[in-house]
C-alpha cells in the first residue's frame, strides 16, 4: 500500500516532512487574513490582530502547555477545568481579603501540583493519560462548584489594574499585559523545547518511548514534568482569564480543552508525539482567533459555525498528518 510511493519523491523537490503541517497552517492563516482584508475594510486595522491576542492570550498559554504533553504522545483533558479552578480560587481568596501577591502564589501552585500528581499516576501506574486527566478534569470542575456555586467578582486593585492597563498608545493600538505574559511564556517554552535537555527528551519520548528508555533518557521524570508544565500553564492561563473577566465562575472555560487540543493540532503538532513546534501552536491559536473574528465581522453567521469550522479544520489537519505519516514512514 505504501511501497509504491517510496521512489516517487526522489527526483522532485521535497519539503522537509516535519515542517509541512506548520507551513500549511501558516498558509491557511495568511489566506484567512487575506479574505478578511478583502471583504471588510476595517479588518486591515492592526488592532484587529492585537485583539485576537488580547482575547486569546490565556488560550495561547494553555495551548503551549498542551504542546509539551502532546509532543510526548500524551493528552491532558484537565486544562479547561484547571483554568476555571485557578480563576475560582483566586476570586474566592481575594474576596476573603487575602493579599494579591499571596493569592498569585497559591493560585500558581495548585495547577502544577495537580499536574504533578496526574503525571505520577500516569507514569507509575501506567494508566492511560486520557483517563487520568479526565479524572483530573472532574476533580477540578467539582472543586469549582465546591468553592462557590455562583460567580465571584474580583475587585482587587492589582487585578483591576492588570486588567485595564493598556500597553502602547491608549488612543491608538494597544495590547494588554496578558498578551505580554503570554509572549514570555511562549518564548520560554520555545527555548525549552529547542535548546534544553528537557526539550530534547520530550521529542525523544514522543518519537519512541522504548528507544528513549533504552537510550537511558529519564522517561519517567520527563513524562511527569510535561504534565506539571501543562498544569503550570493552565494555572497561568487561569490567572490571565481572571484578569480578562475580573471574576471567577464555576462554569467558565467549559470545553476549553477541545479548543486547546484543536489549536495544537492545527498548529501542526503530531498527535502521536515527536514532531511539532511552539511556533505552530501560536499559529494554531491565531487561526482559531481569526476564524472567530471573521465570523464576528460577517455578522450573518452564528457563533456555532465556529465549532463546525474548527471541527472541519481539525479533520483536515489530522488527515494531513496521517497522509504525511503514510507517505514517509
Amino acid at each position: 500500500m505504501t511501497t509504491g510511493t517510496l521512489t516517487a519523491g526522489r527526483t522532485r523537490f521535497r519539503l522537509p516532512r516535519k515542517q509541512i503541517p506548520v507551513l500549511a497552517t501558516l498558509a491557511l492563516l495568511l489566506v484567512m487574513y487575506g479574505i478578511g482584508v478583502s471583504q471588510y475594510s476595517a479588518f486591515s486595522n492592526v488592532q484587529v490582530i492585537f485583539n485576537v491576542f488580547i482575547d486569546n492570550g490565556f488560550l495561547l498559554v494553555v495551548a503551549v502547555g498542551m504542546t509539551f504533553v502532546i509532543l510526548t504522545g500524551g493528552i491532558d483533558l484537565s486544562v479547561g477545568s484547571v483554568v476555571a479552578m485557578t480563576a475560582m480560587v483566586s476570586a474566592a481568596l481575594l474576596q476573603d481579603g487575602m493579599p494579591a501577591a499571596l493569592v498569585l502564589v497559591i493560585a500558581l501552585l495548585i495547577g502544577p501540583t495537580l499536574g504533578l500528581l496526574m503525571g505520577c499516576v500516569i507514569h507509575f501506574f501506567e494508566i492511560q493519560p486520557f483517563i487520568v486527566t479526565l479524572a483530573g478534569m472532574f476533580f477540578a470542575r467539582g472543586m469549582c462548584t465546591f468553592i462557590s456555586g455562583a460567580s465571584i467578582p474580583i475587585t482587587d486593585g492589582f487585578w483591576t489594574s492588570m486588567s485595564q492597563e493598556r500597553i502602547g498608545n491608549p488612543q491608538g493600538n494597544f495590547v494588554s499585559i496578558s498578551v505580554l505574559i503570554a509572549f514570555v511564556v511562549v518564548v520560554i517554552a520555545a527555548y525549552t523545547l529547542a535548546y534544553t535537555r528537557l526539550g530534547r527528551n520530550v521529542y525523544a519520548i514522543g518519537g519512541n518511548p522504548q528507544s528513549a528508555l533504552l537510550m537511558g533518557l529519564p522517561v519517567g521524570r520527563t513524562r511527569i514534568a510535561v504534565y506539571t508544565i501543562s498544569g503550570l500553564c493552565s494555572a497561568i492561563g487561569g490567572i490571565l482569564l481572571s484578569f480578562y473577566t475580573l471574576s471567577g465562575a464555576p462554569l467558565i472555560a467549559v470545553g476549553m480543552e477541545l479548543d486547546v487540543i484543536a489549536a495544537v493540532v492545527i498548529g501542526g503538532t503530531v498527535l502521536t508525539g515527536g514532531a511539532g513546534y511552539v511556533f505552530g501552536t501560536v499559529l494554531g491559536v491565531l487561526v482559531l482567533g481569526v476564524i472567530q473574528t471573521l465570523i464576528t465581522f460577517d455578522g450573518s453567521l452564528n457563533s456555532w459555525w465556529t465549532k463546525i469550522v474548527i471541527g472541519g479544520l481539525l479533520f483536515a489537519f489530522i488527515l494531513l498528518q496521517r497522509l504525511i505519516g503514510i507517505r514517509y514512514k
Partner: protein, 356 residues
C-alpha cells in the same frame, strides 16, 4: 498469577461482585439517610418511587454506555456520543415541530427514522476515520464531538425547540406494565446487544480485535469491519438516548442535551469491569455501572449538593477503579489483591495500532 486469580474468582463468586456490592452499599446508605428511599407506591396504575426514578433516569446512560462498551472493547473510545445525542434529539424535535399534527404517530416515527438515519451516517463517519483511515479513536471522535455541538445548534438554529407531541413524550415519560417505557427501551437494547454479541460469535470477534487488531486480522477476522460496526452501533445507541433525553423535557437544546454524557458512559463502562485497553467486555457490568452513576447523582441531588460537585465524587471513583484495574498498581500492591476485581489482565500487553 493464574492460580491466585482462579482461587480469587471462586472466592468472590462472580466478576459482578464488586460493582453490585458498591450499588448495594450506596442504596443501603441512602435508605439509612432517608428511610423512605426504597419505598415504591402504585398511583393511577403506575409505579412511583425513587428506585423507579433511578431506573428511568439511567435509561439514556445505559443506552450510551452499551454502545461505548462495544467501542471500548475494540480498544477504541467514542467521545462523540454526547454530541450525537444532541443531534438526534434536535433532528427529531425539529421535524416534529414543523408538522401540523404533532400527535400523529406517523410523524413521530418519520422523525425518529430521519434522526436515526443521520446518526448512523455520523457513526459510519467515525468508523471510517478509525477503521479505514486509521486515526486514533480519541481524536477521530473528538472531531465530531467539537463539530457535532455546532451541527446540533445549526439544526435548531440556536433555539431551544419545544414540541408538543404525546407519542414522542412517551419515549421518555410513557408507561407500560406500570413501569416507565424508557426502562423497557433500555432493556430491549441491552438484550439485543447481548444476544448479538453473546449468542453469536460477534462478541468473541470484538474481543479478539480489541485484544490485538493485527493478530486477529492475520487470523482471518476483518478487524476493520468489526471496529466500524462498533462505532455505528454506538451512534445508534446514542441516538435513542438522545430521543429519550429530549422527550423527557419535550424540547431540544443543542447546547445542553447530552452534555458530558460521554464521560459518564466511559465511567459506567470502566466501573463495570471492562478494561479501557480493550479486549474484554461485560455488558451486565456496564448496566450496573450506569445504575451506580445514576444512584450517585440522585444521592447528590437528595443531599442538596450542587450537581456539579458530584464530579468530585466521580473523579475519586474513576481514579480508584482505574488504579484497581491497572496491572502496575496491582503488581506494586499485590498483597492487597482482595480489593481488586477480576478485571481483564490482558491490559498489560502493549497494543498494536489499528491497521490502516
Amino acid at each position: 498469577m493464574n492460580d491466585t486469580m482462579s482461587r480469587y474468582r471462586t472466592m468472590m463468586g462472580h466478576r459482578l461482585f464488586w460493582p453490585a456490592a458498591v450499588l448495594f452499599v450506596m442504596l443501603a446508605a441512602n435508605t439509612i439517610y432517608r428511610p423512605g428511599f426504597l419505598s415504591i407506591e402504585l398511583k393511577d396504575g403506575h409505579l412511583y418511587g425513587t428506585p423507579i426514578d433511578i431506573l428511568r433516569l439511567s435509561a439514556p446512560l445505559i443506552l450510551v454506555a452499551l454502545g461505548m462498551t462495544l467501542v471500548i472493547s475494540t480498544g477504541g473510545i467514542d467521545l462523540s456520543v454526547g454530541s450525537l445525542c444532541a443531534i438526534s434529539g434536535a433532528i427529531a424535535c425539529m421535524y416534529i415541530s414543523k408538522q401540523p399534527d404533532q400527535n400523529s404517530v406517523g410523524v413521530v416515527v418519520t422523525a425518529l427514522a430521519m434522526a436515526m438515519g443521520v446518526s448512523l451516517v455520523l457513526g459510519a463517519w467515525n468508523g471510517v476515520l478509525v477503521a479505514v483511515i486509521g486515526i486514533q479513536p480519541i481524536i477521530a471522535t473528538l472531531i465530531l464531538m467539537v463539530a457535532g455541538r455546532g451541527l446540533a445548534q445549526l439544526i435548531t438554529e440556536g433555539q431551544i425547540i419545544t414540541i408538543n407531541s404525546e407519542p414522542y413524550r412517551a419515549i421518555g415519560l410513557g408507561h407500560a406494565l406500570t413501569l416507565p417505557l424508557a426502562i423497557f427501551i433500555a432493556l430491549a437494547a441491552a438484550l439485543l446487544v447481548a444476544a448479538f454479541t453473546r449468542r453469536t460469535a460477534l462478541g468473541m470477534i470484538i474481543e479478539s480485535v480489541g485484544g490485538n487488531a493485527v493478530a486477529s486480522r492475520l487470523a482471518g477476522i476483518r478487524s476493520g469491519r468489526v471496529i466500524f460496526l462498533a462505532y455505528v452501533i454506538s451512534a445508534a445507541c446514542a441516538a435513542i438516548a438522545g430521543f429519550m433525553m429530549t422527550a423527557n423535557v419535550s424540547s431540544a437544546d443543542g447546547n445542553a442535551a447530552g452534555l458530558w454524557v460521554e464521560l459518564d458512559a466511559i465511567l459506567a463502562v470502566v466501573i463495570g469491569g471492562t478494561s479501557l485497553a480493550g479486549g474484554r467486555f461485560f455488558l451486565s457490568g456496564t448496566i450496573i455501572g450506569a445504575l451506580i452513576i445514576q444512584t450517585l447523582t440522585t444521592t447528590v441531588y437528595a443531599m442538596d449538593i450542587s450537581p456539579q460537585t458530584s464530579l468530585l465524587f466521580k473523579a475519586v471513583v474513576v481514579i480508584a477503579v482505574c488504579l484497581i484495574q491497572a496491572p502496575a498498581f496491582r503488581a506494586r500492591f499485590g498483597r492487597r489483591r482482595r480489593n481488586a476485581p477480576p478485571a481483564a489482565n490482558i491490559a498489560d500487553k502493549p497494543k498494536e495500532q489499528v491497521p490502516a
